[in-house]
C-alpha cells in the first residue's frame, strides 16, 4: 500500500491543527466573555450546547482542552521522530474519542447541535486519520525525505 510522503502528512496535520486552534480559541474566548459562539443562520444550538453542563470538565471549559490538544498536534507536525508520530497519534486518538462522545451527547442528551463543535469534531477526525496514517506508514523510520520513497524498514 502506498502512503503520502511524511512531509505531506505533516503539512496537512499542521494546517488542520492550526485551524483547530482557531476554532477552539474562538469558542473559549466567547465562553470566557460569558457568550456562546455564534451559530450560522441564527440557530440557538451553539448557545444551548455552550450553556450545558457538558461544556465544562472539572470547572474548565472543554474548548481549553481543545486548544491544548490542537497545539500538541501542531507541535507533533514540526518534528520527525517516533515520539512525534506516536505522541501525535495519542493526542489525536484522545481528541477523536472525546469528539465522538461529545457528538453523542449533543444529539441524544442536549438535543442541540453546535456548528463549531461539529467543525472541531470533523477536524479532529481528519487529524486522527492523518496521524494514524503517519504512524502506520512511518513508525520506526529514521529519515524521510520530502517526497522520496519510504526508507528501508525491517
Amino acid at each position: 500500500m502506498s502512503y503520502p510522503s511524511e512531509w505531506t502528512l505533516r503539512r496537512a496535520i499542521a494546517f488542520l491543527a492550526a485551524l483547530g486552534v482557531g476554532v477552539a480559541t474562538y469558542i473559549a474566548v466567547e465562553a470566557a466573555g460569558g457568550d456562546a459562539p455564534a451559530c450560522i443562520a441564527g440557530s440557538s444550538g451553539c448557545a444551548t450546547v455552550a450553556k450545558s453542563s457538558y461544556s465544562h470538565l472539572a470547572g474548565v471549559n472543554i474548548a481549553v482542552f481543545g486548544i491544548v490538544g490542537y497545539v500538541l498536534l501542531l507541535a507533533s507536525a514540526f518534528f520527525v521522530s517516533d515520539l512525534a508520530r506516536f505522541g501525535g497519534f495519542l493526542v489525536a486518538l484522545g481528541g477523536f474519542g472525546y469528539s465522538v462522545f461529545l457528538t453523542y451527547v449533543e444529539i441524544f442528551k442536549i438535543e442541540a447541535i453546535c456548528q463549531w463543535c461539529v467543525g472541531s469534531a470533523i477536524l479532529m477526525t481528519i487529524l486522527f486519520a492523518l496521524s494514524a496514517t503517519r504512524l502506520v506508514a512511518y513508525a520506526g523510520a529514521q529519515n524521510v525525505s520530502k517526497s522520496g520513497p519510504l526508507p528501508n524498514r525491517a
Binding site: G34, S44, A47, A50, K51, S52, S53, S55, H56, G59, D82, R85, F86, F89, L90, L93, G94, F96, G97, Y98, V100, F101, Y104, V105, F108, K109, E111, A132, L135, V136, A139, G140, A141, Q142, R153, A154
Partner: protein, 233 residues
C-alpha cells in the same frame, strides 16, 4: 532495538491505545445513556419535565422568551412560597406554551422575599443561574423539589443540587457569584414593595397599551392572565 522492532512495538502500543479509547468512549456513552437525567447523584424530581417545558425558549438573565416580545409579564415570587410553586405548575405553563413560545410575551422572574431567611440566598442563587442562562431551569426545578416552608431545607447543599440539576454550566462561578447577588434580591424586593405588593406571586405587566409597568396582582387563572396580556398588548 532495531527500527523494525521499534516499529512493531509502537504499532502494538497504538493498537492497545486505540482499543482502550474505544472502550472508554463506549463506557462514557453507556454511563450517560443509563443516567436518568435527574441530577446525577442527587435525586431531583421533574428535571426532564422542566427541560421539555423550556426547550427552545430563549433565556436572558431571569427573562424567559424572545427579548423583543411586545408584552412583558413580571412575576414577583419567593422560591420557598408554596403558592408560587402551585402557580408555576398550574397557571403559567399554558402562558409559556401559548404566549411565550410564539414570541408574543416574555416573562421576567424577580424575587420578592416573604418566607424566611433562606428566601434571599435562594433568590440570589436563581439570579446567579440566570447569569449563565439557566435561571428559569433553576426556578422551575426548585419548585418541583420544594420542601415544607417551615423547614430549613433550602440550604447550600439543596441549592447546589438544584443548580447542578438545572445544568448551570460553571458551578464554581455560580457558587462565587450567588453571594454577591443578594443585594439584587433586596432591590427586587424593594421594587415589589414600591409597586404595592406584599404577597407572592404578584404580577405586573408592560405592553404597548400600558403606561409603564402596571401591577395586576395575582390573576386567579391562566385565562385571567391571558386576559391581562390581551389588554396590555
Amino acid at each position: 532495538m532495531n527500527d523494525g522492532e521499534r516499529r512493531k512495538q509502537l504499532l502494538q502500543l497504538a493498537a492497545g491505545a486505540a482499543f482502550l479509547a474505544v472502550a472508554v468512549v463506549l463506557v462514557l456513552i453507556v454511563v450517560n445513556a443509563s443516567s436518568s437525567g435527574d441530577g446525577g447523584d442527587t435525586k431531583l424530581e421533574g428535571k426532564a419535565e422542566v427541560n421539555r417545558a423550556l426547550k427552545g425558549i430563549p433565556q436572558e438573565g431571569m427573562t424567559l422568551g424572545d427579548p423583543q416580545a411586545p408584552v412583558e409579564l413580571v412575576e414577583f415570587a419567593d422560591l420557598k412560597c408554596p403558592y408560587c410553586k402551585a402557580f408555576a405548575e398550574g397557571v403559567l405553563p399554558p402562558i409559556i406554551e401559548n404566549q411565550v413560545k410564539n414570541g408574543r410575551v416574555k416573562i421576567s422572574y424577580r424575587v420578592l422575599t416573604i418566607i424566611d431567611d433562606q428566601s434571599q440566598p435562594a433568590g440570589a442563587a436563581a439570579y446567579a443561574a440566570g447569569n449563565q442562562g439557566r435561571g428559569w431551569n433553576f426556578v422551575e426545578l426548585f419548585y418541583r423539589n420544594q420542601g415544607n416552608e417551615a423547614t430549613g431545607y433550602a440550604n447550600d447543599a439543596f441549592l447546589e443540587a438544584i443548580a447542578k440539576g438545572a445544568d448551570v454550566p460553571n458551578l464554581s462561578h455560580w457558587n462565587r457569584e450567588r453571594a454577591e447577588l443578594e443585594p439584587e434580591v433586596e432591590a427586587s424586593t424593594a421594587e415589589a414593595h414600591k409597586l404595592g405588593f406584599t404577597g407572592t406571586p404578584s404580577f405586573a405587566i408592560k405592553g404597548p397599551k400600558t403606561v409603564g409597568l402596571e401591577p395586576i396582582d395575582t390573576p386567579s387563572s391562566s385565562e385571567a392572565l391571558e386576559g391581562a396580556i390581551e389588554e396590555a398588548g
